[in-house]
Amino acid sequence: MSALTQSTPAAARSDAAPEKELRPPSYWPFVVPALVVVLAIIIFPWVFTIWMSLNEWKVGSPTTFVGFSNYLRLTSDPRFLEAVGHTLVYTVLSVVLPLILGTLSAVVFHQNFAGRGFLRGVFIMPMMATPVAIALVWTMMFHPQLGVLNYLLSLVGIPAQLWVFHPATVIPSLVLVETWQWTPLVMLIVLGGLAAIPTEPYESAQIDGASFWQVFRFITLPLIMPFLFIAGMIRMIDAVKSFDIIFAITQGGPGSASETINIYLYSVAFTYYDLGYGSAIAVVFFLLIVLLAAVMLYARQRMLWTEIASGA
């Protein structure tokens, strides 16, 4: 999460580098407060976390320096490895589904029809609700016997499902909640993109006799790609660190079938009080997020920024 917020200003600063030399050195007093804050609330906690990860650090026992043994332990911890897998599956699904559905709904809401403003308002309501409150309501809806979802399925003749109560369906069910909540965000971003597209390409496409699908595939999609990219990035960062919905609905269960890195990290640090090992997980998790963010940033730089610059 902090990977993004940190890297963007860093990039901005390096762009401004040539200007820096022209300034007199008296700007330092203005930099110091920010520097102190950054040191105190970003750099220090990280250095300390790394330090903790190199120690056997259990609450209630003395700490001992153990080098990289916490990291070695990670490589042979099946729960951690499973958690990495769950995190990836969960992240991919809860990025892709809102992107697809969000784009579709943006295209729909871009049309002119009666009550559009009102329906748009209704559509973005899930985004405004508190995740824990949402989670509790969904938990009730998922209930295999008393929940409304199985009732609705029964109306169309589909047998009752176990939703979050079975290892095979728990992650898709959680993704359903995540998708329901965050599709509107993607919709809003894409809607903004659609509004910015000039009408000329559409007019010429119409003259050339392009089908609806061709228009979407060859005009709309490429032009909104940069916006989809932003939406995808925001979703990815949110999804990979998703905690509240999973914790409130399943706490990582059944068994450990929906235990993501974040949930496991929480258990290790705050239920098992194994701060050293927990810190090692946090460090690895951070590196994973940095890696994902870097890949996305690189891809954006490479493929799209030039396009959007020339397009605009």
Binding site: G253, P254, S267
Partner: protein
């Protein structure tokens, strides 16, 4: 919460004994000087629930008796456990008195030395009322409260026995007798299960971690012991496999769908809706079951002890206590509060409301207290009977949470059809090094 107003009547009541003795000039043996720490301010951290409610509701009486002001807060159990540990680790906890869950925290607290030793206080007649003696607490309570050296580090407050709740109406409808053994229970549950009607024979905790309190009752009744003499964990032995098979049968064949995600709350919901005929869980759920606003089975619930297994009949026992933070500066005042919390009056109130069962035999066995119990007579009988077959429901080790999570996940996965022996073996391969690390550290 704090109250400075001491009415004449309560003042008289509070000091009646001491007053009478000093007036008559008897060379009395020392009496508890309740007022000695008047003006002291105490902070208490409580886990949310009927115990905490019972304390907060009546705390004025304590302030009237002692002049000690008490600030208390109730926090949901899981969060309370975390907060307490973090604050105690800091060395400067914000509280003097702490409510702890023995089955989770006993070893951890002892090893870290977070609790003050109460033994000297208990021997001091100016601090301890004559009726508060060690021998009054049940064996399980003393086992929980004392460390290896025999020091009392807390006062046992409330005990939780696992019992069998059953729906009399469903039993009658299907002509089923109350089971005395696991075999009978499984047979009964099969008869009672009717998926078309949406009723099931048995419900219980399937959720990882939470399920370990239920599973261990099966384990104990299959003759299981948690640890050998050297402290090695034994929960993957033949008894464990047998217990898991019983558990698996019940939770897959005769339990409502989705039971794999059920904690006590979901199990209770199923039972109070009349959809499950039997439920094994802690004894403290009688009040919601008998509450017409929350339950459809009011007056139809039967209460009895957990059926016998192939090698014994036990009631898995858990409990909470109240202790003094070793870092507290008001230990004596805090001790007076702890003593009041487990006093006969407070204990009787707890039992009578069905909110918990005091560890003190003098309260549980007092006919007058018993006659005031608002829950059905059968419930009280199940409590008394369970006390006789009580056995600690979780191993007394430091990494209880890891144990519950890892082994609990294995047990949960058997509900989705995996093999008990393999799952237990896998879980213990992960758990053994953790246990070793924390006990040897």
């Amino acid at each position: 919460m704090a109250n400075h107003n001491i009415s004449r009547r309560t003042l008289l009541k509070g000091t009646a004994a001491a007053g009478a003795l000093s007036l008559t000039g008897l060379p009395a043996r020392a009496e508890v000087n309740w007022k000695k720490y008047a003006g002291t301010k105490l902070e208490v951290i409580l886990a949310k629930g009927p115990r905490g409610d019972n304390l907060q509701k009546n705390i004025k009486e304590f302030t009237e008796l002692t002049g000690i002001q008490v600030e208390s807060e109730q926090i949901p159990e899981q969060q309370q456990r975390q907060k307490v540990v973090i604050e105690l680790t800091s060395g400067r906890p914000s509280f003097d008195v702490v409510h702890l869950s023995y089955h989770v925290q006993k070893r951890q607290f002892e090893k870290a030395g977070w609790l003050a030793d109460m033994t000297p206080f208990m021997k001091d007649p100016t601090l301890t009322a004559p009726d508060l003696v060690e021998s009054d607490f049940s064996a399980a309570g003393l086992q929980y409260a004392k460390n290896d050296k025999g020091q009392m580090l807390s006062l046992p407050w409330s005990v939780d026995y696992f019992i069998l709740y059953y729906n009399k109406e469903l039993f009658q409808k299907k002509g089923v007798a109350v089971p005395k053994t696991f075999d009978e229970m499984i047979a009964a549950a099969e008869k009672l299960t009717d998926p078309k009607e949406g009723t099931f024979g048995f419900v219980g905790r399937g959720l990882r971690n939470a399920n370990m309190t239920l599973w261990t009752n099966f384990f104990l009744n299959c003759g299981g012991e948690f640890l050998d003499a050297k402290g090695n964990i034994l929960t993957d032995g033949p008894e464990a496999i047998e217990a898991t098979k019983i558990y698996q049968t019940l939770l897959t064949k005769v339990a409502p769908p989705g039971v794999v995600g059920f904690n006590w709350m979901e199990s209770m919901a199923s039972f109070t809706q009349g959809r499950s005929a039997m439920w094994i869980d802690g004894v403290g759920w009688a009040p919601p079951l008998e509450d017409p606003a929350a339950s459809r089975v009011v007056g139809k619930v039967g209460y009895t002890v957990v059926p016998a297994g192939p090698k014994g009949q036990y009631s898995a026992t858990y409990g909470d206590g109240i202790g003094i933070a070793a870092a507290s500066k008001n230990k004596e005042a805090a001790y007076l509060l702890c003593q009041w919390v487990v006093s006969k009056k407070q204990g009787a109130r707890l039992l009578q409301a069905g909110g918990g069962v005091p560890f003190r035999n003098s309260i549980l066995n007092d006919p007058e207290v018993q006659s005031g119990v608002k829950m059905p007579k059968e419930w009280l009988q199940s409590v008394i009977d369970s006390a006789k077959i009580s056995k600690l429901g979780l191993p007394v080790i430091i990494p209880v949470a890891e144990f519950r999570d890892l082994v609990g996940a294995a047990i949960t996965s058997t509900i989705t059809g995996t093999d008990p022996a393999t799952e237990l073996k896998k879980a213990h391969e992960q758990f053994r090094p953790i246990l070793e690390r924390s006990e040897k550290a």
